[in-house]
Symmetry: C2
Subunit: 210 residues, 2 copies
DNA sequence: TAGATTGTTAATCGATTAACAATC
DNA sequence: TAGATTGTTAATCGATTAACAATC
């Protein structure tokens, strides 16, 4: 189905393609050429054709790409049609926002539980879920077998907790704690969301010293 | 002070260097070689030396780099010692989390105001700031001259509001709305935080179809 | 058929890595 | 001095862009 190994740069562009095609489909556009797509996304037509051809031949000479068909393909490629169990670990402000605002279903996940170490928070309802204490994790994971953990915990706790979670069968982390997790890529995938780094790059570009 | 133009890849690595050096300084490490730094960060020594030499000569042959001196330099390079006014636009869940959890001062910014369009929210206190109505923005910007706006608003509103803000003198956006803003890089810098795209890349890597 | 646009190969460009003289 | 490690130039690698035959 796909070329040997897809580069990180290509993977990072897939969501943009998918979102743009979704928007096109919404407004009823039926077909689009790589040239037009490139123009709208600020890329080159070559690049888009190269990227898509990593996964198959989705276009037609002389016509271009069918918007809904290509969108559907990308949806499958990115894995958005899967239904994978996810838990949130850490029910502070950030955990709450994510539970309430991320539509996991549209990313191929469903939320199956929210955990915190603070007994004050446990028992409260967030986004329809009763927050459980982290000591319930082993049993919960044994039964529910969540695949992914969203880490909304402090930096200091992240490495230890993620190690434990790997032991409980977690295979992927969406990591909001301010650290880079150390995990064997054969065992677990880590997607770091490093808000501080993001703000620093903005700071760099705003700084006068250039 | 610096080579003609710094590549995006280098800029994205600067925050990691800075954070790692901060951690080293915390535990009292005085010097470090590019070799050791590379090992710890999963990069190559060459790359680190190349990156740093974009900005100056901070090391010493036979010794390596002085941790606090290099950290200090990076702090200046990234602009973290600046004091730039920032506002939050959109005081929903996300705006609240950012107001409460991001230590703007450590990134070279200070929060000067929080705005929302919903009159229900206006007047309430968030992180010590009284939420103001967005119609106060023109006057506020004229007086306070904020440089950066953190956009915590829905996708549909983002382009229009950011255009208005540019008209009011805003020169940079930390954009949490789920869209890519269209802004002339000569006029305003945009740093997009696209949580959906981030989760999609994790989805891709977790998907079985490979 | 003629025009358009793909998939794909070749050329270019830029970023990463390796090598090494300079020097602390 | 000898060993270590830098700054920097050269070599390699990979990603992007250009070109074009295939074909709808």
């Amino acid at each position: 189905m796909q070329k040997t190994s897809i580069s990180e740069s290509v993977i990072r562009r897939l969501p943009r393609y998918y979102r743009f095609l979704s928007a096109l489909e919404c407004i009823g556009t039926e077909r689009i050429s790589s040239k037009e797509l490139a123009k709208q996304l600020g890329l080159t037509a070559s690049q888009i054709r190269q990227d898509l051809n990593c996964f198959g031949e989705f276009g037609q000479q002389g016509y271009g790409y069918n918007v809904s068909a290509l969108r559907k393909q990308l949806k499958i490629i990115i894995g958005l049609e899967d239904k994978r169990s996810a838990i949130i670990v850490g029910a502070g402000n950030l955990g709450k926002v994510i539970a309430a605002n991320i539509d996991f279903a549209s990313f191929g996940f469903y939320l199956s539980g929210i955990f915190d170490i603070d007994r004050e928070i446990c028992g409260k309802k967030i986004a329809g879920f009763t927050v459980r204490h982290m000591e319930e994790l082993p049993l919960f994971c044994k039964n529910e077998k969540p695949l992914v953990a969203v880490l909304c915990i402090p930096e200091e706790a992240a490495q230890e907790i993620s190690d434990n979670l790997i032991g409980l069968g977690i295979k992927g982390f969406w990591n909001f704690s301010h650290c880079y997790l150390n995990a064997d890529p054969d065992i677990a995938q880590v997607e770091n969301v490093h808000l501080g780094d993001s703000l620093m790059t903005l700071s760099y570009r705003m700084s006068k010293e250039k």
